[in-house]
């Protein structure tokens, strides 16, 4: 009994009609790879198939074999996709359609991609191929579920998050950027699973990711993308309310874990995006610059200005940096002096890694103050 997978292609009777084509190398190549026999064998057949232009079912088997040995073999992926399309649309040009989602070939291909995506999470091509398939089947909701599951294996995987952003932008109807332009004019296709409601679960999804790891910057970035970066959806049109909601959200998360650069970056991001001066949240940030002992422990819960939690490590260098920016922006001598005080503190104690940078901030603040004074 032979498992077909363990036979070389050169040993398989059903491939005996193909003459394998060996790779060209001349005498002294740079960085030659000592291929395994299995890889040499399979790629010999791929080169032969590509040359003959055959696009049949067995080509799917061959390219799957190569991809499993080398998931970054982009030519094998490309030829696989073309073969797949040829088999799927034998007599008409490729066209996206909802019916494709129940086609056994498509189901099998997506199942294989589910398996390979987890196995080769960091390979671009796996995700690229998936985009091409989903642009045909137009079933983005399944993808959001799959992405959620695959982030369990690697919560910060760059490709996985990029794919989620692409899926939402491409199918969600708002500002869809790069991607595959496949449009359908068929009236029957109107009920494609696309539209704004695709976004409905995104903030809950971000919340769940941040509940697992409040420092997951990919989740913070995703929140920015959903709220600010890719169009405005029904229910979010009152931007003032949204700003307020987001500020409360980020402040609360800072109070849970003050030393979290991702949350501070998000705070700065919102303020810049909405052209709100940093000073508007000074009352919030200030307590995070104090040392632990000096924080007064009253029981007033102020949603606008949540205090650092009990065990917080203070002062927090992000808060110090933030408050220095607030002081410097006053462009008064007093403001600059307060900022300089904080920068000195950062340079000598709380963020010595960036000593040169804080010293630079001190010099340039003095310089602009002098220029302003001289001009006046």
């Amino acid at each position: 009994m032979f498992d077909d997978d363990e036979l070389l292609f050169s040993e398989r009777p059903e491939w005996s009609d193909v003459t394998p084509l060996e790779q060209y190398e001349n005498l002294n190549p740079l960085a030659p790879i000592f291929y395994t026999d299995e890889y040499k064998d399979a790629t010999n057949y791929l080169r032969a198939i590509v040359k003959s232009g055959e696009k049949t079912k067995r080509v799917l088997e061959l390219t799957e074999n190569i991809i499993k040995q080398n998931p970054a073999h982009y030519s094998a992926w490309q030829y696989r996709y073309e073969t797949f399309i040829t088999l799927l649309f034998p007599s008409s040009p490729p066209k996206p359609s909802k019916a494709l989602a129940t086609n056994p070939m498509v189901i099998a291909e997506l199942a294989l991609m589910d398996e390979l995506a987890v196995r080769f999470l960091k390979t671009y091509q796996v995700w690229h191929h998936r985009r091409l398939l989903v642009a045909l089947t137009r079933q983005p909701r399944r993808e959001l579920g799959f992405i959620k599951k695959s982030l369990e294996a690697d919560a910060k995987n760059y490709h996985t998050w990029s794919y989620r952003q692409w899926t939402l932008a491409f199918f969600g109807g708002a500002g869809g950027g790069g991607g595959v332009a496949v449009e359908s004019s068929d009236e029957n296709d109107i009920d494609f699973e696309v539209g704004e409601d695709l976004w409905a679960g995104e903030l809950d999804f971000v919340d769940a990711m941040l509940a697992q790891d409040i420092r997951n910057n990919s989740a913070w970035h995703h929140r920015f993308f959903v709220v600010w970066g890719c169009g405005v959806r029904e229910g979010e049109l009152d931007r003032e309310r949204i700003s307020k909601r987001e500020l409360i959200f980020v402040k609360q998360h800072i109070s849970f874990a003050p030393n979290n650069p991702s949350a501070w970056n998000y705070l700065r991001g919102i303020l810049r995006h909405t052209s709100t001066p940093f000073s508007s949240v000074a009352a919030f940030a200030e307590p995070y610059t104090s040392s632990k002992e000096s924080i007064s422990r009253d029981n007033i819960v102020d949603l606008d200005n949540p205090r650092p939690g009990e065990g917080a490590e203070l002062p927090c260098s992000e808060a110090l940096e933030f408050m220095a920016d607030v002081h410097e922006a006053k462009t008064t001598e007093e403001g600059v002096n307060s900022a300089v005080e904080i920068w000195k503190n950062l340079a000598t104690e709380h963020d010595t890694m960036r000593k040169k940078y804080w010293e630079h901030r001190i010099r340039s603040a003095h310089r602009s103050l002098n220029t302003a004074t001289n001009a006046a």
Binding site: Y24, Y39, Y74, H128, A169, G178, F225, N265, R272, M353
Partner: protein, 371 residues
């Protein structure tokens, strides 16, 4: 931590690191099969490492260098999308008719690759090729075929695989050829702007999270474009935000991380460090801590790994050397140790040693036009 005196750095064993590069050039184990579609990039990291160590001439015989040039030219291919370089022969069948004199013809499945074309030009310059075989017009045509409607560039013609790396390579190639007629700069820059994030970094593509590597490609691409258009693409405050984000990525280990909250990795010492240098902020980097981190990434038998205790590879070895070229540690020990930490000066925009860039300037542009 940051004030740790760098005199503690042990001698940089240049021979061992050169040996790592040479070993990888001579062959890679089967475990590296996934490099098959990007072999030219790996070769560039090895050759670039030898170049920065300043040992190419003494370590590699003239005959060997000649053979390597010949091999690189066999990846030069021409066809309906113009000319460029392939990643290696992984899709090229053995064919006795292959000629070494002219670019070979390609099919739809072994076209030139944009990133590989960039690394091939750098590698040939490191090997001091005279570029008499270069099909300059063909390369310009190839760039045109790779640029997409949204201004971005695909890795190979017709592919949807596009990101800021390819855009940078298209700009770098135009700069090397001193001919920008193959790219639409305003469209490309408009695409690049959509990759900017609220943190100040750039994502791999539109909507993606800011990342050190793609931020380098964005900043370097803008630098290359500025040099020819004489335009400033970033406002003062945009620059400021990017500089701050980059500097915040130097973590307590002294190494740089690629994204907020991630671990430091040797390659980001180059990607972030190079971006800061291009932005004129190199004096703000803690170069002592940087060198201390990279010294801990050294593998004792040669080569540099992404983090202490990991296995070395040419990518991290080259980028670490490139980072050290820009940020050499001050070693005041009065003995030979300090000499071992000196490397060739790097051009941060093209990511190559200055002498190599000078060679490119005098050999890659079309002399008929520019003489």
């Amino acid at each position: 931590m940051s004030d740790q005196p760098s005199t503690l750095l042990s001698a940089f064993s240049r021979k061992a690191h050169a040996a790592h590069c040479k070993l990888c050039l001579s062959g890679l184990p089967a475990s590296q099969i996934d490099v098959d579609g990007s072999r030219l990039a790996l070769a560039f990291y090895c050759l670039g490492g030898l170049d920065l160590l300043g040992v190419l001439e003494e370590e590699i015989s003239p005959r060997n260098r000649e053979e390597w040039r010949t091999w690189l030219w066999t990846q030069h291919a021409k066809g309906k999308y113009g000319s460029g370089f392939r990643p290696g022969p992984f899709m090229t069948g053995r064919d006795p008719r292959i000629s070494l004199q002219d670019p070979a013809d390609y099919t739809n499945y072994d076209t030139p690759h944009l990133i590989m074309t960039y690394t091939a030009l750098l590698s040939l310059a490191i090997l001091r090729d005279d570029f008499s075989k270069l099909d300059r017009k063909g390369i310009i045509a190839f760039l045109r075929c790779c640029q997409r409607q949204d201004g971005s560039f695909s890795t190979v013609p017709g592919s949807n695989e596009n990101d800021l790396r390819t855009l940078y390579c298209a700009f770098a190639i135009s700069n090397m050829l001193d001919d920008w007629s193959g790219v639409d700069i305003p469209q490309a820059v408009a695409f690049l702007a959509t990759c900017r994030t609220y943190e100040g970094g750039y994502g791999q593509s539109t909507f993606c999270e800011g990342q050190g590597g793609t931020t380098y490609t964005a900043i370097a691409a803008l630098g290359l474009a500025s040099a020819v258009t004489k335009k400033e693409y970033l406002t003062r405050s945009e620059k400021q935000v990017t500089i701050e984000w980059l500097l915040r990525n130097q973590d307590d280990s002294g190494g740089f991380r690629g994204r907020t909250g991630k671990e430091a990795d040797a390659c980001y010492c180059f990607w972030c460090g190079g971006s800061l240098k291009i932005l004129g902020a190199e004096s703000l980097v803690n170069s002592e801590a940087l060198a201390t981190y990279l010294s801990r990434c050294r593998f004792k038998y040669g080569g540099i790994a992404k983090a202490p205790g990991e296995s070395p590879d040419p990518y991290h070895t080259y980028l670490s050397l490139a980072a050290l070229s820009m940020y050499p540690p001050q070693v005041h020990d009065g003995n030979s140790t300090s000499e071992t930490w000196k490397f060739g000066v790097l051009d941060p925009l093209l990511n190559a040693r200055e002498e190599t860039v000078a060679w490119i300037r005098s050999h890659v542009p079309d002399r008929k036009v520019h003489s």
